[in-house]
Symmetry: D2
Subunit: 346 residues, 4 copies
């Protein structure tokens, strides 16, 4: 951590800052420049916040050099984390593809979709049983019944299930059915939920909040990893900016940036990242080319009849065609992509 | 709702859209312009989403005209809602001032601060017992013990208590102590929490999410109001933009904008809205001049020693001086501001 | 400037950085922390950019401590700059009010508006003769004829003229008529225009670009000040964010922030800052309360008939009423506000 | 255009709006819904702005349905525009690659870079002779001497030249040397420059402003096309958002979005779009996969010694390796990519 003192601030201010640093068991290194004095804070500053110094008299700014997360940082674990659940392998050179409907509507629907996506090459099935909705009067999901429908689709196809959990009280129930527990963008900073999910002994798919920085995303992963789970998949799904042509602004540069910061796998959601069916294929290809470790795509047998998110959902046929391109581009960028061979009861 | 068809889209696409509208029990009004055909959707569209049509073939865009919230809308209730708890009155021409430390640190601390703020003219005491923190290793609040310390300060001063609840499981406990339950910015779209708080029969202070639109804020209020509670205070506390000089970008224009959209009172948080102690006074004055119905300000006896948010916390002495300006500007803009005379032990 | 080396970067990388620093005639101060090595760059770094080091091997990040502007910085000139032109005084405790139509439409229009605004207390007249428009087919202003109409209004009322110049070739012409030359938001980084205007020996009103940081605004002022003109007024007029309820997001916190960074006066444009007539009064009051040194407001005799920007233009009658509040709030915040008594023909 | 009247607004307001529409030679179609009245405006509204109605009494909002640009719109010209200059072909299924140093530093430098890039497969040479810089004290380019150096490189390699023009007065000079004239992001709304360049009878590369919407980008192209030039290449180069990990947020979804809106070719600048050398390759691959019609990449023999933008410039060797991936991904997405065989001295 670096503390920059104000131009012309009195010696006494500097002394107070140094005392506070030392009271925390840390050391200082002071550079008195011609126009400004800079205090380097040395030692383990993981639990120290820039806030601790920003309000002090004479302090102009406080710059954090070390990262506020540790378990998630590549500095402390250089090797890629690989998340593997049945046919799904994400990270460490593997590209995993998760696909399925936005909402689980009925057992027939989700089983049919799962069969078709598996045939097209998907490695896992997504589907929402608990749906957070902006409009309080809109469909909120089938809840535990939805989880049972997903389990039926898994029994039928062998595809592991990725599904969202929205509140700590549901973690135990969701963990009973899900193979990978998803934290949605709106809950990325729901810290109690993160901790609870971290204790559930299941891999976690953590979506970036729509206004979260990459550092905040890594801190959210750290909340999970500070509990037992070390299997966290990060997901770029678009951020909120002044752009209105797409639902969110998909920031694919987050892929190489995150892969420098952390050893965790990074996947992309081109459905929320565009909000428009016609653009999903282009952004899927781009995500693979950008080096993503995986994809999560909304697909449905009849997207125009989907109960939720139909406007950004592609058909199972389009998904199958798109997978051909995914395989070709994955090869160019050196990503292995598993063929889903495990089946029903196997 | 208005559905704009693509230039040159076939008649069949139009027919399908009209059928879907009618299947929802709604009517259409079709304007065939020279370059584009526009379908007006008439009837009660509260439960209809633009999503329902956006993905359909031939549809260029879907524009919502009616608001997706009803109970919170000024269209359906023109008169201002006034929230009144003890000496605190917010809305309907009243300006209420809530102040206190970011975190409750000890009973002695919070009682002392409450006394001094009351003397300076505050109408309610804020203080965090449950603290959501970005860094998992940082201080997370004293929890129920913190609530007891707040209750002690209320017993001492008569100031009602405003405190945050962060998860549905804590609502009952927090409701036992709090006079106003606060939903923080990170939880504005934690819908289960909103609903749970809506059932607690207490007024709610709802902070705007850092990337939430005003419409989403009103929808979040609607979640609460769809339960029993109709006493919701909205709070502008700054949004996330490209600006880095302030912690958040305080958007004071949200005050007149929200007051057009909704009958609920609108207050401002100049502490989070600036993130810098030196700018709190200027933004407090500006908020009152902009027509805010209230303020929530972080104040501490010794801001430099505050456990959290010290950098944006003002001293009780500065708060007292600032209240003089608040009273004068309130008068210019026609806001009544109560003098806190009720007191328990005082 | 501070250069942070990557965790584990080789000694040779450090040496290359130090050599580059020294080749620029600057010195280094090296702190070897437990996890990272930090190089302080000492000396006059005004002409050094973070870019000069960001791409070098082993460098993690480069942090600028000193400001990249000098003439505009309060560090080098602590006393407020006051801009004074006839009855207009801005800065140093004075609040100056500039008002007038978006576009100059006719001599009769602008003279009539000028008379009424002067009677209401305005200190200067704004009016656009050269209009940059997003739509190439829209009205682009009366150009030099418009300037002559403004001059007629000045002759009639004694109000100095503030008007925009959009390209270097027009600077000489505009300078012949204008008392204050305005640089619009879209031209804030049109550096050749800034330099040309800086040579015109007239005060300059420089609007913040819609995505400019405060530092970039100060750098733009530095371009002007690096030429002969030292009389620059900065203007906050709203930035582009994800918010769509207002045309721009007026960031009033820029007022206290800029006044710390620079000695130049800071004014606010509540018309562009809201984009909506009904919100102009609230944001005008808020701007004064925030400590602005002045205002620039779009006003018209018949706003609904204005050729441009009518939706954010207030009537002269509303302006007169608003000035009463401006005077009262100015008094609360200790701003002097001149009465316009000087007059040419009046 | 659609005008939505306020809930409960009087009949007289409606009548005034209708009169104004008719006075413009347009027709109306009125839908009186249960809660709101909606006025459809029919006829050629190219020269009508939403502003014309937004400020009128009783109007809630005005929605533009038709696009404010015509020559650039795909509605009016469905076929792709192809820009072709020597070996460079952009659009209509062709992928063109422009590369070169940020600044032209010396003839030897630029000739050497041009040779190496041509050998690696580049189709055109970029290089800045006029450099707009945030810091007024930084290197501003070699101006006309720089253009001569570029011409020397063209003579040597046959690569056409792409170079920026920053002010109307320089258009004639730059047009004498350049094959494609570039408008930089900061000048995207410098309308006089756009018009002047539009009269120069040269293809134009128009970069998106850092806070410009896609509609504003198309309107800027319309300014150029309203003059003689119809050969405009649009360029996504990243927008300004809250993200700080990259210099700009590269919005690759702009590629498919723009290709729906306009027939003009769309290219991507992964250098400014990342601001970091290490991420350029990933974003280059992603841009091609997203369907871009071309690329503009900063490359230098010794990026660490580049006078400007070194931190985001790749080496000629890295460029050569990257071109292999570009060719493979281009094939997957069905883009033809020319081999540069024409050459002057070669």
């Amino acid at each position: 951590m670096i503390i920059v003192m104000k131009h012309g601030s009195p010696e006494a201010d500097l002394r107070k800052v140094v005392e506070k640093v030392e009271a925390m068991g840390l050391h200082t290194d002071i550079s008195a420049g011609e126009t400004q004095t800079i205090i380097g804070v040395l030692g383990d500053v993981t639990q120290v916040s820039t806030e601790d110094f920003e309000g002090m008299a004479g302090v102009e700014k406080v710059l954090r050099v070390q990262k506020p997360y540790k378990l998630a940082s590549r500095d402390f674990r250089p090797m890629d984390t690989v998340v593997e659940v049945g046919p799904l392998r994400v990270g460490g050179g593997y590209l995993g593809v998760i696909a399925g409907p936005c909402s689980v509507e009925s057992e027939a629907q989700v089983v049919e979709i799962a069969r078709r996506l598996k045939a097209a090459g998907a490695h896992a099935l997504r589907g929402g049983a608990y749906k957070p909705r902006t409009n309080p009067y809109a469909f909120q999901g089938h809840k535990e019944d939805g989880l049972k429908m997903l389990a039926a689709a898994r029994a039928e196809t062998g595809l592991p299930i990725v599904t969202e959990v929205v509140t700590p009280a549901d973690v135990e129930t969701v963990a009973r059915y899900a193979d990978v527990m998803q934290i949605g963008a709106r809950n990325m900073q729901n810290y109690l939920l993160l901790s609870e999910v971290g204790r559930a002994h299941k891999p976690v798919l953590l979506k970036r909040g729509m206004s979260a920085t990459l550092e905040e995303l890594c801190c959210a992963a750290e909340y999970i990893m500070a509990e037992s789970s070390k299997q966290v998949i990060l997901c770029e799904r678009g951020i909120r900016t002044f752009e209105t042509h797409s639902r969110n602004t998909l920031s694919l540069c987050a892929v190489p940036a995150l892969k420098e910061m952390t050893h965790l796998p990074v996947i992309v959601d081109p459905s929320h990242g565009t909000g428009k069916r016609a653009w999903v294929a282009a952004m899927t290809r781009a995500a693979v080319a950008a080096g993503a470790d995986g994809l999560i795509i909304e697909a449905h047998v009849e997207p125009e009849r989907a109960l939720t998110d139909g406007f950004q959902t592609i058909s199972c046929d389009d998904f199958a065609r798109l997978m051909d391109d995914v395989r070709k581009i994955a090869e160019v960028v050196g990503r292995k992509i598993g063929v889903c061979t495990s089946a029903a009861a196997a």
